[in-house]
């Protein structure tokens, strides 16, 4: 479904992403691991159009999406969470999901707002509430996100990303800043959401236990390149990976 070919991005003297090829099949969960600065977030940014790559192509279902702006890519069915939170602090939790759903709704028109018809429909609210239920945020649905802690904010981002039923979810270090228990919960939640919705998923994660629990296949990056790929256990045994992580020769 997602096909990345020869993706390259350079920042000044740093080659953040150096000719990466990557595929994610429909409904497949792929882990993307690698040390800090390996270029994982930059890869996400390029795939999602938030950074313009210097070279390479990004295709979704065979269509080149490499020149589309981010919002068009999102409407084509890519959802994303961020390593640095990108929530809307003054909106309530529920409104985050409403915004995401309304984007796809033809009723999102100024004149409808002016006639007082801008409220979300009953189906939309039901959809929103079922997702909030799934991530366990129902009790805080009306709280402005600014009043929530980091863990809840990560859940809000996740809920906001999946409520539109994307075909591909890009999750960037969803567990960073969470404790061990929260991370375990999040891993279970991610896997069940991914399976239930049949989403393709690309997960960047440092917590290897979580990666093992959530993904079908692992890709390892170091210094902007893919250095290994395969099943979790194959990859963790590979020398290149040990070198990237541990500095072993």
């Amino acid at each position: 479904m997602l096909a990345v070919r020869g993706l390259t991005k350079q920042f000044g003297a740093t080659l953040a992403v150096a000719g990466v090829d990557l595929d994610v099949a429909a409904g497949e969960s792929v882990g993307l691991v690698g040390p800090n600065g390996a270029g994982k977030t930059t890869l996400f940014n390029c795939v999602f159009g938030q950074v313009r790559p210097d070279a390479g192509t990004v295709e979704l279902d065979g269509h080149d999406i490499g020149r589309l702006p981010t919002w068009r890519r999102a409407r084509l069915g890519i959802g994303r969470t961020y390593q640095r939170l990108e929530v809307f602090p003054e909106l309530a939790v529920r409104d985050h999901l409403v915004v995401a759903l309304r984007v796809h709704h033809r009723g999102a028109r100024l004149w409808r707002d002016l006639l007082g018809l801008g409220a979300p429909t009953r189906e939309e609210l039901a959809e929103v509430d079922s997702v909030l239920d799934a991530v366990g945020l129902s009790d805080r649905a009306d709280v402005p996100v600014a009043a929530l802690g980091l863990g809840a904010c990560r859940l809000v981002e996740l809920a906001r990303a999946v409520v539109t039923k994307p075909r591909l979810l890009l999750a960037d270090e969803p567990s960073s800043g969470l404790d061990e228990h929260e991370t375990g919960e999040l891993a279970r939640l991610l896997r069940s959401l991914q399976l239930a919705r049949g989403m393709g998923m690309l997960l960047v994660e440092h917590d290897l236990a979580m990666v093992e629990a959530v993904v079908d296949r692992v890709v390892v990056m170091d210094l902007g390149r893919v250095v290994a790929s395969g099943s979790f256990h194959e990859v963790m045994g590979a020398r290149a990976v040990r070198r990237a992580y541990l500095g072993a020769p």
Binding site: W71, A74, G118, R160
Partner: protein, 656 residues
């Protein structure tokens, strides 16, 4: 050649004045992370104190210099850091710009009130005597002390600062404190102290610039400071806020090119009257559109900030239902009483005041929508109001069109201009966008509004009774009141509906996080253009109403200063809600009217009051009126809760 020199050389002191400030802007940005347009105000304070001590108190020049430059300058810088900028989260661009602007607007207006009127032209010169001609360039281009002081100051300041930043440990630490205070702390350096030092250094430089430039007559009047700052901003922008030498060279060129062109162009031509004064603004527009670094000016760079939770909530929104009902009933009672009073016993003076306040409120709703909801800072709202007023005036003048209808068409024109402005600046955000709108406002001020075809020249357009169907002008005819009331109610309702509807959610999302909003599929460019267009229409409607009220539409009426004041006033009272706009409008005119009864000396203080109020914005982004309202409702809630002995239920669960 001789002639060229004769025209170009007088441009040098201007260029140097721009350069000193441009370098100061780059310095402040590099060492504190703040694009401080209040830098001009800081310089003005030192210049003012210096002249005041020497002239009114007969201090020796050296003592006044030490006091104004070495004590007041850094002291003011430290105070700005301690009480203002330190409190603003680095990501809150609007707060940073508004704070800088209110310093720029407020301080020069405040000082003459505090110290009595002061003529800085007579300020003594420190280094060279301004009137002595030291030598001639070529055959007969005299070079006097003004030129020498300006050049010497610029060169010395540039060299010292470049050395400071590039070669000293302090310079390195200051830049690091901007990049990532936390990384610096990991190195065992107190980042706060480094930032405070940076502010003191910037204050010292601003003070030096102010005192040394004061006698050169280039920079003395308070109102000159903004134009000066714009030229400086243009130069700093071309240097992408990075290189001080580039900024200095560009600034000098702006001064020299302006004055050379002024010498050659025939004084009666369009180029002389319109294009020339607009030159620095055009340079700024060009820089904003074409210098790549400026698009990402205020993106947070700190690699360690990813673990930050979002800032704490500004205010719990949920109110108890009883309080809500009480507030709503109270509102309608008040509204009814107000309308009844306006139609019966209100004295004409106060009816006029209230009418004006309501017309302002319509304009202010444009700020509510654009800044409060969409998070876009525009410094051209008064310009948009003016566009509608002049359009209506010209339509009435040439076609005999009814002024109300013309006003509506004018609002359409204003919304188109706003939309075009938004489209032109789609790549800019935050600071860049604010500067772009400021440049647009200044362009209209100097090049478009004064044109004969727009405003009928300096006299402006005087409204004729035949242009309006009703006898709207009569102070107690009430017709004007009813028209303004109707427009205000419709606009208030419209903005409130938009805020509550889908578009409002999209705009609030965009304000919260552009990445996040685009990431769920919100078409940001379109939302931005939409917000600007709507806000242009609101500003235009308000502008047309203000024009009816003032009966003369003068070219200087809708200037950039008014735009700055608008933003500052609305932000002070409360930019998040439609009530905020109405409170701001009424508050402004009531304060203005009350000032009429105050001693002569205090009359310039209206804008100062609001400007200083805006400084509270740093601590309370919801605005002071909103803050007080929240405090009062909380008090009311407590009383109600106690009476009913019900267990208190906190509206919002705090962070664990």
């Amino acid at each position: 050649m001789e002639q060229l020199l004769g025209f170009a050389v007088p441009g040098v002191p201007y260029g140097c004045a721009y350069a000193v400030f441009a370098v100061g802007l780059v310095l402040t940005y590099q060492t504190t992370g703040v694009f401080n347009v209040g830098y001009g105000a800081q310089a003005y304070v030192s210049a003012f104190v210096f002249a005041w001590l020497v002239e009114d108190h007969a201090w020796p020049v050296w003592a006044a210099f030490v006091c104004a430059v070495v004590i007041v300058g850094p002291g003011l810088g430290l105070a700005l850091d301690r009480f203002l900028f330190r409190r603003i989260p680095s990501s809150n661009t609007t707060a940073k710009i508004v704070t800088g602007l209110s310093l720029l607007v407020g301080i020069p207006a405040l000082l003459p009130v505090v110290f009595g009127n002061q003529n800085l032209v007579g300020a003594p010169s420190i280094v060279f005597n301004p009137d002595t001609v030291y030598f001639h360039l070529g055959a007969d281009v005299p070079v006097n002390g003004i030129y020498l002081s300006a050049v010497l100051l610029t060169v010395v300041m540039l060299v010292v600062l470049v050395l400071l930043l590039r070669t000293t440990r302090l310079g390195l630490e200051m830049r690091a404190a901007v990049e990532s205070p936390r990384l610096l702390e990991l190195e065992g350096v107190n980042a706060r102290r480094v930032t405070a030092t940076a502010w003191a250094v910037c204050g010292l430089m601003a003070g030096l610039a102010g005192v040394l430039l004061a006698p050169t007559e280039v920079t003395v009047q308070a109102q000159d400071y903004v134009t000066l700052m714009v030229a400086a901003i243009a130069a700093a922008a071309i240097a992408a806020l990075r290189s001080m030498p580039v900024a200095a060279v560009v600034a000098v060129l702006i001064g020299v090119v302006s004055l050379t062109a002024q010498g050659y162009l025939p004084t009666s031509s369009f180029w002389y009257s319109a294009a020339l004064p607009a030159f620095p603004f055009l340079v700024l527009v060009g820089a904003l559109l074409f210098v790549p670094g400026l698009r990402h000016l205020d993106e947070a760079k700190d690699p360690l900030s990813s673990v930050d939770p979002p800032p704490p909530p500004p205010a719990a929104r949920a109110r108890r239902r009883e309080v809500d009902r009480l507030v709503r009933t109270g509102f309608f009672v008040l509204l009814f009483a107000f309308v009844a009073s306006m139609l019966t016993w209100m004295p004409p003076t106060w009816e006029t005041v209230m009418n004006q306040g309501m017309a302002y409120s319509v304009v202010f709703l444009s700020v509510t929508l654009l800044t409060g909801t969409a998070g876009q800072l525009s410094l051209a709202q008064a310009t948009l109001a003016g566009i509608a007023a002049f359009t209506a005036g010209q339509l009435a003048h040439h076609l005999g069109l009814d002024f109300l209808l013309g006003g509506a068409l004018g609002a359409v024109a204003a919304s188109l201009v706003a939309g075009l402005l938004a489209i032109a600046s789609l790549r800019l955000r935050g600071l860049g966008l604010a500067l772009m709108t400021l440049a647009a406002a200044l362009l209209f001020d100097v090049a478009i509004f004064p044109a004969q075809a727009v405003s009928g020249g300096t006299g402006g357009i005087t409204l004729k009774p035949g242009w309006l169907p009703l006898n709207l002008f009569a102070p107690n005819g009430h017709a004007y009141f009813l028209v303004v009331l109707l427009v205000l109610v419709l606009c208030t309702g419209g903005v409130a509906l938009v805020q509550r509807g889908t578009v409002g959610r999209f705009l609030t999302a965009m304000r919260g996080s552009e990445l996040g909003a685009a990431g769920v599929g919100v078409n940001l460019p379109w939302q931005r253009v939409l917000a600007f267009t709507l806000s242009g229409a609101l500003a235009g409607m308000g502008g047309a109403l203000l024009a009816i009220q003032q009966t003369v539409i003068a070219p200087g009426e809708f200037n950039y200063q008014l735009s700055l004041a608008f933003v500052v006033i609305v932000v002070t009272t409360g930019v998040g809600t439609v009530e905020g706009a109405i409170q701001a409008g009424i508050g402004l005119v009531v304060v203005q009217q009350l000032m009429q009864y105050a001693p002569q000396r205090l009359q310039g203080l209206t804008f100062v009051l609001f400007a200083l109020g805006a400084l509270a914005y740093a601590a309370h982004p919801e605005g002071i009126v909103e803050l007080e309202k929240r405090r009062w409702t909380e008090r009311a809630e407590r009383v109600l809760t106690r009476r009913r002995r019900a267990p208190a239920t906190p509206a919002v669960t705090g962070r664990p």
